[in-house]
């Protein structure tokens, strides 16, 4: 299995993702500069990492979504390849329209960097098939624009289609919803997938929950294992 991490000017979680993927998933990782027009080795998984691409100018992810490499990312997704956008990567995916919605400023108008809990809402996709539906995981968040927004009718469509993959939750009770979203995200949405389940965007950072002696917990390892196992089951290692 091969992974490509796209690096934009202003990405700052690219190395974290590289480390998490290479250690947790034991796969080769190519770091790909955004000005490339193609991947030198065709990846199985493309990751758009967190950070502040182009300084968040105009809108978060707006400029990165028009980078030369994005055409190749779209072609990869159109072939059924996996694309994962974390935090700024999620914002970029919505700006490319590969995922619906937009990420608006947090209701608090502050940058929020904290521990956070999300409930796994569905496992019928290529990212979370190894997790348990309804389980609560601890992933940290660090963002200013994380309020997931969609107009009511479109929000209902993705809810009805079961495309909400992660929802902000209370650790103790396991309840999830808008009241547990630290950023005001509609319906407490922390992550959604595409119709075919091969594109996932989420605001929390699973790559920051992979080192046991740090305080972020290790739930992220289970997320990366889930992806690796889904590939292993198909004979891709």
């Amino acid at each position: 299995m091969k992974t490509a991490v796209v690096v934009f000017p202003g990405s700052n979680c690219d190395r974290d993702v590289q480390r998490a993927v290479s250690e947790s998933m034991k796969t080769a990782v190519d770091m790909v500069w955004h000005e490339e027009e193609n991947f030198s080795r065709q990846p199985d998984l493309v990751i758009l990492p967190g950070g502040f691409s182009y300084g968040d100018y105009l809108r978060s992810g707006a400029m990165a979504a028009r980078s030369p490499i994005i055409k190749a990312v779209k072609e990869h997704a159109a072939r059924g390849g996996l694309v994962l956008g974390i935090c700024n990567g999620f914002q970029i995916l919505t700006e490319t329209k590969m995922l619906p919605g937009a990420l608006l400023s947090n209701t608090s108008l502050t940058f929020i960097c904290s521990r956070c809990y999300v409930r796994v809402e569905q496992t019928d996709n290529k990212f979370t098939s190894g997790l348990k539906k309804g389980e609560v995981l601890q992933f940290p968040i660090a963002h200013h624009e994380g309020l997931f927004f969609l107009p009511d009718n479109e929000l209902k469509k993705i809810e009805d289609a079961g495309r909400v993959v992660f929802r902000y939750a209370d650790q103790a009770t396991g309840k999830a919803g808008a009241e547990y979203a630290p950023n005001g995200a509609l319906n407490g949405i922390a992550g959604i997938c595409s119709e075919k389940g091969n594109i996932l965007g989420l605001m929390p950072h699973p790559e920051r929950a992979t080192i046991p002696h740090l305080n972020g917990g290790t739930d992220g390892i289970r997320f990366w294992d889930s992806i690796a196992n889904a590939f292993a089951e198909r004979g891709v290692c």
Binding site: L58, A102, L109, F149
Partner: protein, 85 residues
């Protein structure tokens, strides 16, 4: 012809504008009364070469759809003024 163009981008109606709400709250704290529905947007200004005003507007509309405006959450209005040949 050279045009001076201004593109005004504002949050779409119904889209939560947290900046607008914060500004409205602060204005109220300052004693301003009777204010409502404060929205914070942005202006993109540029000089632009085009044969006609109509063409200049068409180019700017294309820029809005390609980059300047996210039509899910924002709307835009364009104004152009000829400044020279």
């Amino acid at each position: 012809m050279i045009f001076q163009a201004e593109v005004l981008i504002t949050p779409r109606e119904g889209v939560l504008d947290t900046q607008g709400k914060a500004v409205e709250k602060t204005l109220t704290h300052l004693g301003y009364k009777g204010i409502d529905e404060v929205r914070v947007g942005k202006i993109v200004k540029m000089k632009l070469e085009a044969d006609t005003e109509h063409e200049a507007v068409k180019i700017l509309e294309s820029m809005c759809s390609d980059l300047l405006c996210n039509d899910l959450i924002e709307t835009f209005s364009i104004s152009v003024k000829e400044t020279g040949r």
